[in-house]
């Protein structure tokens, strides 16, 4: 009899999840050829993650909002017009189908009307806080959590989000500080409903409902693209996102300046808050992975990069809570995909603490030859064709750069050709050239 899930080792759980990825539930392939293609692509990725040699080096084209510009529209338009959103992504998908190992539906292009409904303050997007022709949306860092609010966050994160944080990042919820703490709702509601009658509070709920209605329309458009791509045999390779707890605190709660001060002025609170945040991150990532086929959770990393903090600060503040999140996912058989923005050359010793074949690291500007040499027997490495080359270089230059990367990093498997970061705009020929390099130089001889 098969072992119960809880009795499996992390490696057995990972294998189990890989099997599910290979035979995904709820997907009807459009043809036997599509199903065969799907399995071939997923196998290619799984082998790379397992540090084995696939048929050839897998490739992820560095296209973030690229489809919008490729289709002749722009980010601003597709953030507001969901039909154009799905049309653009489907055009890209069909035009590039033979040159894709994986495809990301436009699930990362948020519906602007939902953001407007709640008067979202945390992000700027084209035409809303930044110029309409900007090709990306961006986080507006600020001190959304004050230094004396650590205890409130630690005591009850939900209450802190609802009555303190959300009213700051969603302008429409400015009435929510008047809500009662739901954790102490009365047994027989006498006063508890009163705040819900206040016009400002009601406006907040109406805004949330409007954002929800709008998001469902958006979801239908995204779902159309995702459904068509998976029926055609194109796998996704990420099921969710998580962050290192220090980044959560530093990016969107305290801000860079705030968190750097806290490291000196209230280190114990930083640790306590990270414990809370780690637990939340773990739950949410496991739920996301359980809800989709690919057992992979992407973690974009920010403030632990080279130059941001000392080795001692990394060891004290960044790594312990980050490692706890990684290991909780690994123990569940989920493969964390760590996207190290900037460079990570000084952090290799930490990566070596992680179990073999349990994580993949996507490098932006890290020294790939050194990474292959020192980490190649432990982790799958990914990266790092420069965005500048993809946007301003010629197809020949792109292909040549990829050839060198494949030669250095591809040896023995455990490598995925990808960008250092992603591009929104640029010559389509450069995308084709990148995949051409994978097909021409990345084949493993049996």
């Amino acid at each position: 009899m098969a072992k119960e899930w809880a009795e499996l080792t992390p490696a057995e759980k990972r294998e189990e999840r890989f099997k599910r990825w290979l035979s995904p539930q709820g997907v009807t392939f459009s043809s036997p050829k599509a199903e065969k293609g799907y399995k071939a692509r997923v196998t290619r990725f799984i082998k790379a993650f397992q540090l084995k040699e696939p048929d050839r080096v897998p490739c992820i084209l560095p296209a973030s909002n690229f489809a919008a510009y490729y289709a002749g529209t722009d980010l601003r338009t597709v953030m507001y017009d969901y039909d154009k959103l799905s049309q653009a992504w489907l055009k890209f998908f069909h035009d590039f189908e033979d040159d894709l190992d994986t495809f990301i539906p436009p699930a990362l292009v948020p519906p602007a009307k939902s953001l407007e409904a709640v008067d979202y303050q945390l992000y700027r997007w084209p035409g809303h806080g930044i110029s309409g022709d900007t090709t990306s949306y961006q986080c507006a860092e600020a001190e959304y959590m004050k230094p004396d609010e650590y205890d409130a966050l630690i005591r009850d994160p939900s209450d802190f989000w609802l009555r303190t944080y959300m009213p700051r990042v969603f302008g429409a919820l400015k009435g929510f500080p008047q809500l009662p703490a739901l954790t102490s709702f009365e047994e027989i509601a006498i006063q508890s409903f009163v705040p819900f009658g206040m016009p400002e509070v009601q406006d907040g709920f109406k805004a949330l409902m409007e954002a929800g209605t709008e998001s469902l329309k958006w979801l239908a458009a995204v779902g159309k693209v995702a459904g068509e791509a998976s029926a055609a045999g194109m796998p996704g390779i990420m099921s969710g996102f998580a962050k290192a707890p220090f980044d959560t605190l530093g990016d969107t709660l305290r801000g860079t300046r705030g968190i750097m001060m806290d490291v000196f002025q209230r280190p114990d609170k930083v640790h306590e808050a990270m414990d809370k945040i780690a637990a939340l991150a773990i739950d949410s990532a496991i739920n996301a992975a359980n809800a989709s086929a690919a057992p992979i959770v992407m973690m974009p990393l920010h403030k632990g990069a080279d130059g941001f903090m000392s080795d001692k600060q990394y060891a004290t503040f960044y790594w312990p809570a980050f490692k706890r999140v990684i290991m909780a996912l690994v123990d569940e058989g989920i493969l964390p995909l760590l996207f190290a923005e900037g460079s990570y050359n000084t952090r290799f010793e930490y990566i070596k603490e992680l179990p073999k074949g349990a994580t993949a690291w996507w490098f932006d500007q890290t020294d790939m030859a050194r990474a292959k040499k020192e980490l190649g027997d432990r982790i799958c490495i990914m990266g790092n064709v420069p965005t500048s080359l993809m946007m301003t270089g010629t197809p020949q230059e792109v292909k040549e750069h990829c050839r060198k990367l494949i030669e250095v990093c591809g040896k023995g498997g455990g490598y995925i050709l990808s960008g250092g970061a992603q591009i929104d705009k640029g010559p389509a020929e450069n995308m084709h050239a990148m995949m051409a390099a994978a097909k021409e130089y990345g084949v493993y001889k049996k």
């Binding site: 930044i130 750097m260 000196f264 403030k303 941001f308 000392s310 965005t387 500048s388 301003t392 705009k425």
Partner: protein, 210 residues
């Protein structure tokens, strides 16, 4: 006492350095002297950052200490301090990009290394760079950008400087997240610097300082 002060600031001893600031002010010492010592302390912080001993947390913390000291000293100063500067630099994050962590590090490092820095902030329209260069006659412009949209914004900013007839009077350096030598060529900048230390070295070279 002044040597202690410089080291206390450089070593980020918050309580001690603030206490000493108060003592010095109470004893009737010239506020300008205290600010001069603060500058020396910050120079050491900058040097330690360049040497890889200090990182972003220390820069932020020292900046906060300096702010507190300056606020304490300000009411005791009647005349403005005159510091000799190596040269003037206009910096900013280009249009369409709202990131400033790297920009502020460059600001800090240029400042503690003796430059007069005009930091225009984030999402800076090309016209604003042009206006500021005209106004300050700065011989050096630093363009910062984190994301790929910055490639075009940098190119357009350099073109605007050229159109305004300023290009041959200035040197332009660029840096940040996805910026590299390819972007330097694309944007027709004079140099790409990979970090704040590179920005200082370039600025010093361009003004002919050692």
């Amino acid at each position: 006492m002044s040597g202690d002060f410089v080291n206390l600031l450089a070593d980020l001893k918050e309580d001690e350095v603030l206490k000493l600031t108060k003592q010095r002010l109470d004893s009737g010492e010239d506020g300008l002297k205290i600010l001069e010592d603060s500058r020396k302390g910050m120079e050491i912080v900058g040097k330690r950052f360049a040497d890889g001993e200090y990182f972003l947390p220390e820069l932020v913390y020292s900046g906060e200490l300096l702010k507190q000291i300056t606020e304490m000293v300000k009411p005791h100063i009647t005349q403005a301090a005159e510091t000799k500067r190596l040269g003037t630099v206009v910096i900013g994050t280009v249009a369409g990009d709202i990131h400033d962590i790297g920009l502020n590090i460059v600001d800090f490092m240029l400042d503690v290394n003796g430059f007069e820095v005009h930091n225009l902030g984030v999402d800076v329209a090309k016209e604003k760079f042009v206006d500021k260069v005209k106004e300050t006659k700065a011989p050096i412009v630093g363009l910062s950008g984190f994301l790929t949209p910055a490639f075009d914004a940098m190119k357009e900013t350099v073109e605007a400087l050229e159109k305004a007839g300023l290009r041959d009077k200035i040197k332009v350096m660029i840096g940040g997240g996805q910026i590299d030598d390819e972007v330097k060529k694309y944007a027709k900048a004079d140099a790409f610097g990979k970090d704040a230390m590179a920005a200082v070295a370039l600025a010093k070279k361009w003004v002919g300082a050692k």
